[in-house]
Amino acid sequence: MKLCKKVKVVDVRPFGQPMTAGPEFFELRLENPGWDEWKPGQFVMLRPTSFGLEHVWARPFSIAMCDKQELTLFIQRVGRGTAHIAALEPGDHVLVWGPLGTSFVQEPDTHTLLLAGGVGIAPFKGYAILHPKRDNLRLVFAHRASARCYPYEQLADAVKAERVQEEKPEHLARVITLLHERISQYADGLVLACGPAPFLTTVRKYALEYGARCQLSLENRMACGVGACLGCVTPGVDGENRRVCVEGPVFWAQDIALGGGK
């Protein structure tokens, strides 16, 4: 059961930056909207009051964690919409609907590789916390901004983790090499990835190559978040479009045809 609720902002905590208004990377803590259940990989649509009529869409964000008290998101400010969100203050109200979409599989006894690109690390926070056998998890984190800008340390404390920074375009090769090497070691395991489209395309390629069972979480632009507008679709390998907000955001790598469109 999805809920659409007005909830209070508990805190806006910038990551790795001074506590100024409008941070670039931040954790947004909200009152729990009263959900019965949720699963890591699912997302919410979020709309601050300050959107007014100027922004007709809410914005989708992965659920980083949700407990009885609080729903936590991890957000990077990239444009006008996330700028409004970054300017939120405790006590402000936002509209949230969710939990939405599919989630990452959890197989406690399978060796599971978590591949996160940038803010794509968000869903893995809850995934790691809620996983019954964390020893079976390993995180690879590829990032551009300083690692302190992301909740990487929190995760590195919980699971085996390594990271690779892509400060310049030349560093891309080492990201790809690391992805290749790790995925090759998980041919009989589970590979779960979340990050920008080119990152996912690379992961998919190696996963299919090594026959690893692999799930990808996509981040297409969304208008409704509930399957109504058909604006977020991604083509399946069968040529049929899949709605990322309902049939995804988490897909089995072999089901979808990545690389087309933006």
């Binding site: 007709v56 509930v226 604006g231 933006k262």
Partner: protein
Amino acid sequence: MMDTTVRLPGLTLKNPVLTASGTFGFGLEFEDFGDLRTLGGIVVKGMSLKPRQGNPMPRVAETACGMLNAIGIQNPGVESFIKNKLPHLPWEDTAIIANLYACTAEEFGELADILSAEEGVAALEVNVSCPNVKEGGAAFGQDPVQIGRVTEAVKAKARNKPVMVKLSPNVADIGVCARAAEAGGADMLSLINTVTGMAVDLVTRKPLLANVIGGLSGPAIKPVALRCVHQAVRAVKIPIIGLGGIVTARDALEFILVGAHAIQVGTANFLRPDAAFRLVQQLPKDMEIIGIGSLDELRGTLVLPGA
């Protein structure tokens, strides 16, 4: 109790609030956010004879107080709608209106034939105005002669189901198009469909829609929609259903003031998924605030200067 019933030719709505085609899926997507049976009606996603995958991605973009779309009528086809969607919809309680999309008058007739045989379909809305798809809609919607022909073709196969023709605002004179649909036998009109528009990305130097051009909707176009409804109301005798940028109950009442019989909620469903349900709840309250006991007291009472 506030009376919000709307009587249209062959169609009675418990309230004037319909959801607009393409913005409310097949209705079922919104079941968690409100009781579908409280809506006056649901106009489902545009459908064609055969399934369509629609246009390439990206096909939506946000703009100031609005959005562009070039979905290209992705839909599972009319048969799948009848088999997989209609039975799950509360059609005994709420008017389910099918939105027909085709590229020739003959295909429109075929669609009307299939859909009008369904008990669960309360009315047919004819999309002659989709500006997104090169092969069809646009040409129809901007040409009064084609509007007339398509309307006749649908009416000929519509059995006892009322036919509503949906007009495009991308014309020099909406009154001419409205009269063409009326002359073709339309029972009512709905307007407006989206306004043709475009957006680009300075960094990639690409259009934000793969289709380049798309349809603008949302609060940005409300003034255009009110103007079109105002002009259409004066051009024809058949009832008009107004839409375009409606978010609040007050917006809805503005369209009724201008002369609309009912309204549709489109892009507002993206602002929040309970938008249409909330509008239904708020409507009687706002009617009370402005001091009317029924919609008839307001409808078309716009005071024109010198009148």
